[in-house]
């Protein structure tokens, strides 16, 4: 890709052309943070520098990665989806209950995905056509999904279906290292989402709405379709995340994933996506999830710090990123 319209580039111009555009800076900052944390861990703790530590991060957080992908779509339009944690719990419960009732495993999975997608569609329609604030509409979704979970069963139901357990433990090995299938699915979700956001009209319209909704409308873009669409995607991702979570935890429980929506939002924000919309990358959200996971890993490797510190450090990081964003947007406007 050429860097300037003037044909005679001086060497300096070309060197300058290699500096990353400012819009990538937040993501690069998150990457730098992740690398820095990994380096500190590697120096301080025995066995931390093993690449498997990183792969385990992906495995343990596969469901959160998928949630963060859906959340990225929503936040890019300037909205928010608070329902995803509850949808994860509902998904585990639907999977566990339908399997208990003897449904074939793939039908059970389809039911889970359909439920999440439908919930997302409902919230999207409410938000766009009834002009209800995303915060409120998805807060209602949060209560609804959690309530439905209790309605299905108050008790925890364990999953023993062989297809589920097989999927849960199936791994792909690279020499000495391995990834579980769940992590592969999560990474595939990130890749597909990245393509959709960067290279499709739908994806660019997501950014356009986040930039200025009325301008997007005047430019003749499909605002209604896209705005509802991001909540459908988020609902789908939440139920897919719920499936991955049920592979991981092999039970359906109404108390699963309480507050996970906040982890997903934190990951998206730490990944450099602007809460006001229009700016951010799904890869950043992946890195954001990795940073959150890395904090946990660091603290568990340390052994002397109590687990409260996970929350405190997460909070501090979140604050730092939001303040940095604030300055970044103030400068650009």
């Amino acid at each position: 890709m050429s860097t300037a319209t003037v044909p005679v580039d001086s060497l300096w111009d070309r060197v300058k052309g290699y500096s990353p555009p400012p819009r990538y800076l937040p993501v690069l900052a998150t990457l730098g943070l992740l690398v820095g944390m990994f380096a500190i861990g590697g120096v301080r703790y025995e066995g931390f520098s093993d690449p498997q530590v990183l792969l385990s991060l992906l495995i343990d957080n596969a469901f959160l990665i998928v949630l963060a992908v859906g959340m990225t779509f929503v936040i890019l339009t300037g909205g928010i989806d608070l329902s995803v944690g509850s949808v994860v719990a509902l998904s585990t419960m639907i999977a566990a209950k339908t399997l208990e009732l003897g449904w074939p495993p793939y039908l059970s999975m389809a039911a889970v995905l359909a439920t999440g997608t439908l919930l997302g569609l409902l919230m999207g329609l409410l938000i766009h056509y009834f002009d209800i604030q995303p915060f409120i509409a998805t807060l209602a979704g949060l209560f609804l999904a959690r309530g439905l979970t209790f309605l299905i069963s108050i008790e925890s139901i364990s999953i023993s279906d062989p297809t589920f357990t097989k999927l849960a433990f199936k791994t792909v090995t690279f020499g000495d290292y391995y990834l579980r299938w769940t992590a592969i699915i999560a990474l595939a979700t990130v890749a597909i989402a990245a393509y959709v956001l960067a290279r499709t009209r739908f994806g660019r319209t997501v950014y356009a709405i986040g930039g200025n909704e009325s301008s997007a409308m005047l430019m003749g873009l499909r605002v209604a379709f896209t705005k509802v669409g991001v909540y459908v995607i988020s609902g789908f991702c939440a139920s897919l995340g719920g499936l991955l979570f049920s592979f991981y935890i092999l039970s359906g429980n109404s108390l699963h994933a309480v507050g996970t929506e906040l982890d997903a939002i934190a990951a998206v924000v730490i990944g450099g996506t602007l809460l006001t919309g229009g700016r951010g990358y799904v890869v950043g959200s992946l890195l954001g999830v990795m940073v959150l996971g890395m904090i946990k890993t660091l603290i568990s490797f340390d052994g002397t710090l109590s687990s409260y510190w996970i929350r405190i450090i997460t909070g501090a990081l979140l604050l730092a990123f939001v303040i940095v964003q604030r300055f970044a947007t103030r400068r650009s406007s």
Binding site: M1, P22, R23, R199, R201, R204, N212, S215, M219, G278
Partner: protein, 527 residues
Amino acid sequence: MTQMDLQPAHGPKASSDADRPVIEMRDISITFGSVQALSEVSLRLRAGEVHALMGENGAGKSTLIKALTGVYSIDAGTVLVDGEQHEFSSPAASQAAGISTVYQEVNLLPNLTVAENMLLGREPRRFGGINVRAMNRRARATLESLGIDVDPTSELGEHPIAIQQLVAIARAVDVEARVLILDEPTSSLDTDEVAKLFEVMRRLRDQGVAIVFVSHFLDQVYEIADRMTILRNGRLVTERMVAETTQLELVKLMIGRELEVLERLDRKVSARTADESGVPVLRAVGVGRKGALEATDLDLYEGEVIGLAGLLGSGRTELARLLFGADSTDTGEVVIRSERRRLRSPRHAIDRKVAFSSEDRKAEGVIGDLTVADNMLLALQASRGWLRPIPQATRTKLVEQYLQALDIRPADPTALMRNLSGGNQQKVLLARWLITEPEVLILDEPTRGIDIGAKAQIQAKVAELSAQGMAVVFISAELEEVLRLSDRLVVMRDRRKIDERPNNDVTVGDVLEIIAGETREEEGPRA
């Protein structure tokens, strides 16, 4: 110079042009409810011509544009495209006929690239995905053809407003527009940026595009436009060649009364002369703001009414807002009673007994769901602080007093503000500021859109207040009103003060001449 050629001509002037217009709007009428917004207005746009649409605020320019772009539906009249009748039921239909519009505010997306802003919605695609390379190539070609030197892969928000404006035009041009409508495109541009815009406009004109140019800047109209259509009060005044019309004629056509009639108006300027020996109550030293007002000086003395005259967009409102601290100044300072302190917010000004009644009473003044009494007491309560409520007895007394003094109807303190007529709302707003007993009162268009009776009452009140020692800055589009009330006259044009003089026998004609940029000597002896 023909002075008498001012008779409004309804219907287009007979034209000897053989070339058929690309677009012809014939006898367009539009009503909104009971309001006749446009009445038998015609507009003819020819290929390869810049056509200025002129008129004061409320003349019907934007209504006419919106009729052409399919936003409003037409009640009567026809639109011909290449001589064939068309009906534009939606913006899309109008765009399909080759009509593109660039609005005053740039309606683009700062967070996307220049190329995306130009082509989003009709970008080249490959295998279902956007072909970014092809998109950038096409954007670059269009930009180059317009002589705009911008990297299409850069983010739009990185560029100044002027470039964004040009990108908006490039987007409009990419749809192969045959008619390009530019609504106030220069209102936030500086001189160099305007020159750049004009360069692009000329290039498009030479390529055969018909351009509609709406601007309040007369100099710019004279620089770029070939022909103009002048509207007033929703009616067509005339269509003229720009080169054959002097600026003075144009201003008269826009404002629209014959000079003789204007000059015969009896004026009630009192012989009061303000005490200019003392310290000014309010003093602006080199006050300016980029894109709004060039550095301006103004001294306001006790008991004096300064009238700000000028066309819409001349900087009169901008100056008022800077004096009140509603906008922050880029240069200079406002000194109140020799206290050298930069006004940083309206709060500062209110604390120093300056009051400002905005021209936009709907958006910046009236709170429709509160009662008349609440609306009236708002400013006083705000300046007292919310922790010190006004005693009920005082409230009742103040409200009753001003309901009577300004003859507000209904004289019911509990009536909801939104149920009042415009004139009565305006009087409540005036009362709101008078209750705070200001020393300086800035009134921006206090009489716009209200009936004669209310107008006279407000004028009388202003005169009375200044006689009591209040310093007033009075802004109005109606020159007669400004002349009747003010002791000193400040004339604004193109965002700067071009003249300041005591209001001794100044006539509306004089002011028009000053605004039109001609000296009195050229005009010859006055009637």
